[in-house]
Every structure is written in structure tokens, then in C-alpha cells.
């Protein structure tokens, strides 16, 4: 079965002071119609860059290689018009920080109507009707008043709901959500996730869900891809990740998960400093932190290997690891 969104050996370089910097090394990922896939990784691992590459919102001068296809059509190959139509009709994007991503000097109503009316098929009245319906669907009360307000008059949680409504307004097939709850406080986080999850299932939308929270990823997605320093290191069905995880980094993440009711320490407890994509040498990107590292790891980059239900990029995937590799707070 062919995928709705297919990312194949994506590589992205950004211009830097001298020459360029690789921010994405090797990302291959499929999202099938109606399927939710999570992209999980520490901050700086290149999750946002991946979604930006998909949306063609990379910074100017960025060089992209590899291929991204939507419904079989190459996104990097689209001309201006095709790109605009695709963006306007087939895909919706929810950004991390709604306050920065919604124009502060335009009313909420204008923001929502702008997207809905783009293809020119709806009358003003119909558009308004659809916008109101969406606002109620994302759980906003008192819609008429909200539509006439400015972004600064709404809370972060409400704004993110508006963003979700805007992303869904054109009835896309694919939703890209880049850490949609990171900028929100804990109680609203759960509500917003519930709204995204509910609406997505109800509409049969495909979703690429970016997060750094493995539990959240497992809760709302069908498959999980783990990213480290610009590459995907492991990909598994959501249910199989905990028992089957075989990449040392994934195992580290799993072991470092906070216990229920104790949320503070997240991805910090893997020993060592997370490196950036451009710092990766010839060998395995994780070699500087890996408890199982051997000479081969530093010499040769491990290629992704298909395993039951997923892929892993590690020379020694699945081998038993030495005890106490994960620094738990007490030991230090």
C-alpha cells in the first residue's frame, strides 16, 4: 500500500557562516492515509526541520535532497501554484507556539476566514458558518465573541484551539502537528491533545505528530519514529515500542521516562550531551553517549535495518546492554 506522505532519504543543509550545516542527515518515513505517526526526539534533533521540509517552509538558501511525495506527487518539485493549492487544500499545520504563529494584529475571525475563503468556493456566509462550526468542534465557547477578538485577548490554550480549527478548516488529508502542546500549561495540554486526537480519528485524517514525549506519542499515534541528531534511529508500531525497542537511544528514552505522577525529569537522564546533526562524524551519531559503543560504531554509520514491524539503525541493535547505563538521579 502506498503512503499518503512518503519521505525518502531526506537530507537538509542550511547555509551557515562558512559553507553549510547539515540539520537533517537521513530521514525516511511513511505516513499512510488515516494513520498517525509520531516523530519523537530531543530538542534540536531536527523534528521541526523535517516538518518544514515537508511544508516547504525551510529557511532561504536551504538545500534539500532526497524526495518527499504526497499522494505520489513530489512536493519539492511542485511549482508555485501547485504548491499553494496543495498547502491550501490537502495539508494542515499546527505550530508549536500559536502566539507567534498567528498574526497579532488581525482578528481571530479574519485569521480563520482567510484560510477557508482561499479557494473562493465559499460565500462569506458559508465560510463564517464553517468557521463557527469548527470553533465549536475544537471546544471554544462563545464563538461570536471570540471571532471578533484579537490573539492577545485569548489564552494560549484557546489560541492553539484556533490554530487547530484553522488547520482543519480546509478539510485536509494530512495534519502536521509540531509539538502542539509544548507551549501550553499542563492542564490545557491534555485537553488540546484530546481535541486533536478526537477530531483526527473522527475525520480519518493522517497525522504526523511531533513531540518529545514518548508516552504521549504512544497514546495518540499508531507508529513511532525516534529521531536523534538529524536521523531516524528506530521506528516501531506504537504498542510494540516498549517491549521491542532495540536501539540503545530508544531504550535510554524509555528508561528515562518519568513515572506516573512525577513529570519533571524528561529526556535529560541519558548520560552525555545531545549532539547536533552537523557534529555527527563518520560513525554512529549516538556513539558519544551510547553505553554499548564499540570501535565499529565510531568508524561506520549503521544503516537502518528492517525488523519485525519497524526499522532500527544500530550495529548492535537488541543486544543486552550493560546494567545501569541510564543515570537515574539518585546515582549521581
Amino acid at each position: 500500500m502506498s503512503a499518503l506522505l512518503s519521505i525518502d532519504r531526506l537530507r537538509v543543509e542550511l547555509p551557515a557562516k562558512k559553507g553549510s550545516r547539515t540539520v537533517i542527515h537521513d530521514v525516511s518515513l511513511d505516513v499512510r492515509a488515516g494513520e498517525a505517526v509520531a516523530l519523537v526526539g530531543e530538542s534540536g534533533s531536527g523534528k521541526s526541520m523535517t516538518t518544514r521540509a515537508v511544508m516547504r517552509l525551510l529557511p532561504e538558501g536551504a538545500r534539500l535532497s532526497g524526495e518527499i511525495r504526497f499522494d505520489g506527487v513530489s512536493i519539492p518539485g511542485m511549482d508555485r501554484r501547485a504548491l499553494r493549492r496543495w498547502r491550501a487544500t490537502r495539508v494542515g499545520m499546527v505550530f508549536q507556539d500559536p502566539r507567534a504563529h498567528i498574526n497579532p494584529v488581525r482578528r481571530i475571525g479574519d485569521f480563520l476566514m482567510e484560510g477557508v475563503r482561499l479557494d473562493g468556493r465559499l460565500s462569506a456566509g458559508q465560510a463564517r458558518e464553517r468557521v463557527s462550526r469548527l470553533m465549536r468542534a475544537v471546544g471554544v465557547a462563545d464563538v461570536d465573541r471570540r471571532l471578533s477578538q484579537y490573539p492577545h485577548e485569548l489564552s494560549g490554550g484557546l489560541l492553539q484551539r484556533v490554530m487547530i480549527a484553522a488547520a482543519l478548516a480546509t478539510e485536509p488529508d494530512l495534519l502536521l502537528a509540531d509539538e502542539p502542546t509544548t507551549a501550553l500549561d499542563v492542564t490545557t495540554q491534555e485537553e488540546v491533545v484530546a481535541i486533536i486526537d478526537g477530531l483526527r480519528r473522527e475525520r480519518g485524517l493522517a497525522m504526523l505528530f511531533i513531540t518529545h514525549d514518548l508516552d504521549l506519542a504512544a497514546a495518540v499515534c499508531d507508529r513511532i519514529a525516534v529521531m536523534y541528531a538529524g536521523s531516524i534511529v528506530e521506528e516501531r508500531p506504537a504498542g510494540a515500542l516498549t517491549p521491542d525497542a532495540s536501539h540503545p537511544y530508544t531504550r535510554g528514552l524509555l528508561a528515562a521516562r518519568p513515572e506516573i505522577g512525577r513529570r519533571e525529569p524528561r529526556l535529560r537522564t541519558i548520560e552525555g550531551r545531545p549532539i547536533s546533526a552537523f557534529e555527527v562524524g563518520d560513525g554512529c551519531a549516538f556513539a558519544t553517549r551510547c553505553p554499548m559503543v564499540r570501535d565499529l560504531c565510531r568508524r561506520e554509520r549503521p544503516a537502518p535495518v528492517h525488523v519485525t514491524g519497524g526499522r532500527v539503525a544500530c550495529h548492535f541493535a537488541g543486544e543486552a546492554e550493560p546494567q545501569a547505563v541510564v543515570g537515574d538521579g539518585a546515582a549521581r
Binding site: R56, P59, E60, S65, G77
Partner: protein
Amino acid sequence: MSVLQLAAAPGSPEITSRAYRFGALTAVACAVVTLLTLAAVFAPAVAPYDPTQVDPSAVYQGPGGAHLLGTDDVGRDILSRLLYGARASLLGPAIVVVVAAVVGTLVAVSAAWIGGRFDAFVSRGLDVIFAFPGLVLAIVAVAVIGPGLMAPAAALSISYVPYIARVLRTAAIRQRNLPYIAALEVQGFGAAAICARHLVPNLLPLLIVQATVAFGYALLDLSAVSFLGLGTQPPAPEWGLMVANGQPSIVAGHLEQSLSAGLTIVIAVVAFNLLGQGLSRVFLGEDR
């Protein structure tokens, strides 16, 4: 596998390459400024004629021949007048910039150091001066003191203080809050010593950049005052004055005097401006 150049937003690599091109421009600007300075200093040696020598037999000579840039309405050599004119034309801005730089630095550093209500008062005062157009202040000064180089130069010195002091104050406040200042204070150094030996030297690059750009604008303002007949008085050569002098001859088609003097002013101002931008990139690593 295809390699594609994606253009989502216009921007950054263009900027870097332009910075390199502007590097060459900065060099040109630097050369122009040097040449103008040399012209001012060595005018007597390099000028082919006496700048005030009237020659009724050689009125309105075109460029070329004995007079490279031609002669004016009373037969004076335009090139010589431009070369000598560099003296008055550059001396004025130099006075303005030096005074404004000294006063501006003192004001900025003391405001930053003392802070509180004094700082607020100083900032407010700088705003008031800033609101007063330099040209008007210069004209008022002429009305009070009388025409010449000194009255407008004095007025503009005041006018340009905010231009220097505002930027310096912000930078000085940032420096003031750096740990090294606190460390020096702990070691028992006095405020004046710390300011003179550490704070001001650290502000120097910024001061030089601001002063260079201010020089260009002061040159503009002062030559405008001379053009109005309120600055340097004839028959002394000065660029703004030469533009005014040549004006009546334009109708008769003799453009040499006004145009060459005007062009010299434009070149000088642009050169100082570009030099300031270039220095800013070198010293402060930023585009302004």
C-alpha cells in the same frame, strides 16, 4: 535523487555575499575619506591655483585645458577651490563630531553608571535635543552669534550629542551589568578609574562607528548652512558655499561650480556613511 534549491523566504546567503561585496565598497570609502583628508591638509601643495585668485580674463572656462574642472563666474579655478574647500568643509564636521563624541561619551557613561533618576533625566534631555532639528538649531545659533563656521558648528555639536549618547548609553548599561565590572568594584577600583580604563575602551568601537556616520551627516548639515549663506563666508572656499555661488550661473548653462561642489559633498557623505557601515561590520559584526 534530486538536489533542489528551495526558496521559501528571501534571505540569508544573499546577505553574506553582499557583505563581501560591501567589503570592497568599504575599502573604496576608506580611500575616498583618506584622499579628502589629504586634500585638506596638503591643499597648498596640490592645488594648481590660488583659490581666491580672481581672473576676469578666464571667466566660465569649461573643464579641461588649463583648468581641470573649469573656472567660476569670476575666473577662479574650481579644482583649487574644491581642494582648499576641503579644509573648511571637513573642519566643521570634525569639530562637531569631536565635541559631540566627548560630551556624548561623558553623558552616556555617567548616566549608565549612576542610573536611576539621573539616567531618566538624561534620557529625557537627549530626547528633547533629538526632537530639535539640527539645522534649525544651527540657524538659531547664527541669528544669535552671527554667521561663520563657529556658531553652526557649536549648535550642531549639541544636536549630535544624542546621536552618540543614546547608543553608547545602552551599550554602557549592558557593560555595567557584566560581572567584570562588579569584580573590579570588589577589588576596590573607583568608578572613574573603571570607566576610564575599562568601560570607555570597551565602548570605543561603537563610538568610532557612530562618530564616522555622524561625520557624514554633520558635513551635510554644515554645508547646508553655508549654502544658505550663514556659515563660512565668501570669498573663502567651502563646498556648500560653492554650490550656492554657482547657482545663478546655472540658468546660463554654467554648471561646473555648483555641480562639482555638490558632487563632492555627496561623495564625501556617502563615503563616510559606507565607512561607518563597514567599520560597524568589522568592529561589531553586524549590519546596520
